[in-house]
């Protein structure tokens, strides 16, 4: 393989949940690609399928959910359809996910040192002492003081943000190529958050890792991501370079989101919010899923808009706010 293709390539991914009350189309035709050293900010509506996109890549979707279509390639190798054992070997080694809920990573009845050294030794033959030293260093890197005492502690003895940092440390233990970080800094003050983001930037810059950063914190995305993808109701509705999308949102949903940021509203006044409610993913209406809430909706919107791509930027809207081609930079 001489032509360096993307490190991770997701194409036409659909992950659905077959529940008794209907099919929940949690992820419905999601595509993106990620190069080495690149950071993709994945933002969007709560419940729009960001975490399930991450689970799908990691091969962690449980029944009644399943990937019904699409392809996920890691360095060109197809992951959809791989056996459990092969996926397990990739997880925690070449790919790692920091879960939105740190307790999905942490075992409540196991001491931290054991959880960390087992993660290392599951993929690598190293001595117990070497594994412990690496675990200790990983805690220091994420800003956990008194690492020796903390290694000997159980998860419930940590604060919310400390648990988050331990989960991050565990994800980075085996220096993965692809890291999917799902809301990893919600419980951290900005000074400690800066420390974590610094470590992440080091990982992408020095080790060439690719990063998917799922978050609602647009200021973190603004500072960290190269590109951004905005999800709504199971689909990416807009993507592009971070600077382009944040300064000139093309999709009306993205625009509504940016308008709701508290610092863009007068202090103490009612915050602007997008009117209406998220449609149920089990009973999406025909046409654009944002139609009922959109100030620009017209008759054309009764047909589902296709993704219009141009110059590295794309938008799924019949009447975008910014002409995508005009704003796309080199």
């Amino acid at each position: 393989m001489s032509a360096p293709g993307p490190l991770l390539e997701v194409a036409g991914l659909r992950t659905h949940f077959f529940t008794r009350s209907g099919v929940v189309k949690a992820v419905d035709d999601v595509s993106f690609a990620l190069a080495r050293g690149e950071v993709l900010g994945l933002v969007g509506e709560s419940g729009s399928g960001k975490s399930i996109t991450g689970y799908s890549i990691m091969g962690l979707v449980d029944p009644p959910g399943r990937i019904v279509a699409g392809s996920i390639r890691l360095s060109g190798r197809e992951l959809v359809g791989l056996g459990h054992e092969e996926m397990r070997r990739l997880r925690g080694n070449r790919m790692a996910m920091v879960f939105q809920d740190p307790m999905m990573t942490l075992n409540p009845v196991m001491r931290i040192d054991r959880q960390m050294t087992e993660t290392i030794r599951a993929h690598e033959r190293v001595s117990a002492a070497a594994a412990r030293a690496r675990a200790r260093a990983a805690l220091v890197a994420v800003g956990i003081p008194s690492p020796d005492e903390r290694l000997a502690s159980y998860p419930h003895q940590f604060s919310g943000g400390m648990r988050q940092r331990v989960a991050i440390a565990i994800a980075l233990l085996n220096r993965p190529d692809v890291v999917i970080a799902d809301e990893p800094t919600t419980a951290l003050d900005v000074t400690i958050q800066g420390q974590i983001l610094h470590e992440m930037q080091k990982l992408t810059r020095d080790a060439g890792a690719a990063l998917i950063w799922i978050t609602h914190d647009l200021s973190v995305v603004a500072g960290l991501a190269d590109r951004i993808a905005v999800m709504y109701a199971g689909r990416i509705v807009e993507h592009g370079r971070c600077a382009d999308v944040l300064s000139q949102p093309a999709h009306p949903y993205t625009r509504g989101l940016l308008d709701s940021v508290p610092s863009r509203n007068p202090r103490g006044a009612r915050l602007r919010q997008i009117p209406g409610m998220t449609p149920s993913l089990a009973a999406l209406p025909e046409g654009c899923a944002f139609r009922e809430r959109c100030p620009r909706a017209g008759p054309a919107c009764a047909q589902a808009p296709a993704m219009q791509e141009s110059g590295g930027r794309g938008v799924r809207c019949h009447d975008p706010l910014a002409a995508v081609a005009a704003t796309a930079g080199p």
Binding site: S46, T186, H216, S247
Partner: protein
């Protein structure tokens, strides 16, 4: 009243009623006993000792009816612990807590239970706080039925209303928690707390998992409830934009202690404590500009072995010899404002105690 608590509580104003909630020099320690491995090591003279965390160390806070007090601080500094103490979910190891001017821990059981129903906490970790085997309709509707606020027959309608308010589709109420996304779960926790119509609400990172539009909806709801029902909040958050938007006053903690407090605009406009300044300097903006993030300067002090003197001194760019030896006391620096730092000037009338 000591100068410390006077700084945190608004200055005695006879026109104002007694605080709804007041914590007086409250403390909470966690002790981790020496485990088997440690005891064996000790038999060989290792000297392993039990670990003590002063999660909350003599903190005083008073919250007036209808007030929103923002609580901000480093991860692990004791905010969630303080929240649990405030609503009576955790016993203090020192100090007193008052509900409407009456000591909570001295109340007869029945009255205390009634008082505690009036105080609710929205937990930081919704997944751990939602029973995985209960359907949403029961998670949200059980307490209102048990406490006779609604009849069992009204439950479905009542829960539907509660879910709607936080932007959740009521048709999902027969689902279990694991069938929801992170932000949807957080909203189930919010709906559950609001369903019992509390007077005092501790919000622990309650909007952190929500996209900014739904966050706006929930914050607007909080403000509406405050205006309509005088609902009073202790609002714990790392999002300074949110805290600034909704709080009347802000309290900043560092490693178990209050380091600064004051009216929101005064504090954000002119932060006094070096930790507060570091926080405000670290706030990013939504303006798309790639940043190079910096690691924490100095050494992050540990709650397991807090440094002597000012807890912030290992990270403080201004620390002098005194900071390493003596802990600064919370001192009034302006009317309604207090800070605990040797380098801030006390206000003319203010004393260091």
């Amino acid at each position: 009243m000591s100068a410390a608590s006077a700084g945190v509580a608004p200055r005695a104003d006879p026109a104002r009623a007694a605080p709804l909630v007041e914590l007086r020099s409250i403390s909470r320690r966690f002790v981790k006993p020496v485990d088997v491995a440690g005891r064996i090591a000790n038999a060989f003279g290792a000297g392993v000792r039990e670990e003590v965390v002063h999660a909350v160390d003599r903190v005083s806070i008073a919250v007036q009816p209808g007030e929103v007090v923002g609580l901000v601080g480093e991860s692990g500094c004791g905010k969630s612990t303080l929240g649990r103490l405030a609503v009576g979910l955790l016993a203090p190891t020192g100090g007193e807590r008052m509900w409407r001017g009456e000591a909570l821990d001295a109340m007869p059981r029945e009255r205390r239970r009634a008082a505690q129903l009036r105080m609710q906490m929205i937990f930081q970790d919704p997944y751990a706080s939602l029973n995985p085997r209960m359907r949403v309709v029961d998670i949200v509707g059980e307490a209102p039925v048990v406490h006779g606020m609604i009849t069992p027959r009204q439950k479905v309608e009542y829960v539907g209303l509660q879910l709607n308010r936080v932007g959740l589709d009521p048709t999902l109420m027969r689902r279990f928690p694991h069938q929801f996304s992170g932000g949807q779960r957080a909203r189930i926790g919010i709906a559950r707390a609001l369903a019992v119509k509390p007077e005092f609400l501790v919000c622990d990172e309650s909007v952190a998992a929500l996209d900014v539009s739904i966050q706006a909806q929930v914050l607007n709801l909080f403000m509406d409830l405050r205006a309509a029902l005088d609902l009073t909040y202790l609002f714990i958050s790392h999002d300074l934009g949110v805290v600034r938007h909704i709080s009347d006053r802000v309290v900043i903690m560092y490693l178990g202690r209050v380091v600064e407090s004051g009216p929101t605009e005064a504090l954000f406009g002119d932060p006094a404590h070096p930790y507060t300044r570091a926080l405000l300097a670290g706030v990013g903006s939504v303006e798309p500009r790639k940043r190079s993030f910096a690691p924490v300067r100095g050494e992050i002090p540990s709650p397991l072995a807090p440094p002597p003197g000012c807890h912030f001194h290992p990270r403080c760019p201004h620390a002098v010899a005194r900071c390493r030896e003596e802990a600064p006391v919370l001192t009034e620096i302006a009317p309604g404002r207090a800070a605990a730092c040797w380098l801030v000037e006390p206000s003319p009338g203010g004393r260091r105690s």
